[in-house]
């Protein structure tokens, strides 16, 4: 049975992880390669690297980071933040990223979604959508890190992103982001019922119960979280055990991996 995915999100600035779980055995918590390895061992199903510098001149640093991560991390990972062109897609995918996430650029240049999907396949194109509630059953799409209103209705935009070739949606509730009060389940459900591509829930996770709600009431395919794991409140393993006990299919955490501290080469 296809399992529900748990996806830690790592914020990266100038090629360094600036927010991430404090694993005990790591020498350098800012090193993306060490962090990626630690999350892999902890049972993450995928990783998202979000470049929060995202300025032109820092682009090359991000590509270098992707090259290093891809040389030793063998689970899928997405790179997002400041991607605006097909050339950005090409460069990061060639460096080893499996999926590229676009947000503001998708709203400003919707044709980028279809061009990227035609060139790299829909599976490589994640459209990230930041939504803010404006009334019952209605959410507005925000861009530029949630600072700019677009007037777009979220469910309509989700459908358009799918029709243009997005392979997956990363849906963040700006009302819930950082609150640890749980995902916006109504928003999740509204989008999940409108599209037929996988939807990743984001914004508001504070406990394993919130993950459970995202998969049941919210009908999400994957749950992204930052602070729930970053601040070490719960381990991914605890999250997965909680879900499995309640009948949610998850990929079991590899016990063999947890006990090892080598890199899996034998």
């Amino acid at each position: 049975m296809l399992t529900k995915r748990l996806i830690p999100c790592l914020d990266v600035k100038d090629g360094r992880v600036v927010k991430g779980q404090q694993f005990i055995n790591l020498k350098d918590h800012g090193d993306p390669v060490e962090m990626a390895r630690a999350y892999n061992q902890a049972g993450a199903d995928e990783l998202v690297f979000l470049d929060i510098t995202a300025t032109r001149e820092k682009r090359e640093i991000m590509r270098e980071m992707v090259l290093q991560v891809a040389a030793c991390l063998f689970i899928p990972f997405t790179v997002g933040g400041g991607i605006t062109s097909i050339e950005d897609f090409r460069s990061l995918i060639a460096a080893g990223a499996d999926k590229i996430s676009i947000n503001s650029a998708a709203v400003c240049t919707p044709g980028l979604i279809s061009r990227a999907a035609a060139k790299f396949g829909s599976q490589a194109v994640v459209v990230a959508i930041d939504g803010r509630r404006r009334g019952s059953g209605s959410w507005e799409v925000l861009i530029s890190g949630g600072t700019e209103e677009t007037g777009l209705e979220l469910v309509d935009w989700a459908r358009e992103a799918q029709d243009r070739g997005a392979g997956e949606l990363l849906l963040t509730s700006m009302d819930r982001d950082g609150s640890r009060d749980g995902y916006d389940l109504e928003m999740l459900k509204a989008v999940n019922q409108a599209v037929s591509i996988p939807v990743i829930a984001s914004g508001g996770a504070g406990s394993p119960e919130h993950l459970y709600q995202a998969f049941t009431e919210g009908e999400a395919d994957a749950a992204l979280a930052a602070s729930i794991w970053h601040q070490d409140s719960y381990s991914i393993k605890e999250g997965k055990e909680y879900l499995a006990e309640r009948g949610i299919p998850v990929r079991p955490v590899d016990e063999e991996l947890l006990e090892e501290d080598n890199d899996g080469r034998k």
Partner: protein, 210 residues
């Protein structure tokens, strides 16, 4: 030396990186002249069946690959690379694949399966112990919209999505096909690739002796 075929269909970089990580030397194959001295081949790939067939043909690799497989040397097809081992696909009716195995790829029905593509970690029920897949039950990463219906003669492992059971691994003699991506399936996936490398080493040693 293991050859990894580049026919313009996507993610060969990840396969090469994974094999190199396992300290295995690789050569990227872009034409028939690159096949000299190659002991085994990996055919990776994402994308459409037709562009895969056309990509192999335009690089003059289509018939050399069939000959390579007939010679009994180890061959591993991954994702689209596995589907290309079959006769055809409902994605592009009438276009013949490598036709090493009988059968046709079918598309998941969204009405029954739900979301298409089938994307994420799913488990494989391994039918029998085999050089590549040793476990009874393991989880690997999938991304695909087409599947191979079960054919017991070549079935190595099956997986179920949206009520549809399909072949997630096939094998006959030295030819293997994997629908999931071992290069993206963490430790479990790397183990499968390492098992393949061991099969290759065993095969070339025995050829050298004889």
């Amino acid at each position: 030396m293991i050859g990894v075929i580049d026919y313009g269909a996507g993610n060969l970089g990840n396969v090469v990186r994974a094999l190199n990580y396992l300290n295995c030397r690789t050569r990227i194959i872009t034409g028939p002249e690159d096949l000299t001295g190659i002991t085994a081949l990996v055919l990776p790939g994402v994308g459409a069946f037709a562009s895969g067939v056309e990509g192999l043909k335009s690089r003059e690799l289509f018939h050399p690959l069939k000959d390579f497989i007939s010679s009994g040397r180890p061959f591993l097809g991954i994702c689209l690379g596995m589907q290309l081992l079959f006769q055809e696909s409902s994605e592009n009716p009438g276009l013949e694949g490598l036709a090493i195995f009988p059968g046709s790829c079918e598309r998941f029905c969204p009405a029954e399966a739900g979301k298409v593509p089938h994307m994420g970690w799913n488990n494989l029920r391994v039918k029998k112990n085999n050089n590549l897949l040793l476990q009874e039950d393991l989880y690997l990463y999938f991304v695909h919209s087409y599947y191979l219906p079960v054919n017991p003669e070549i079935l190595l492992a099956s997986t179920t999505y949206g009520g549809q059971r399909f072949m997630s691994a096939v094998n006959r003699e030295m030819v293997w096909g994997l629908q999931p991506h071992p290069e993206k399936s963490g430790r479990r996936g790397l183990k499968i690739l390492r098992n393949f490398v061991e099969v290759v080493n065993g095969d070339s040693n025995s050829r050298n002796r004889s």
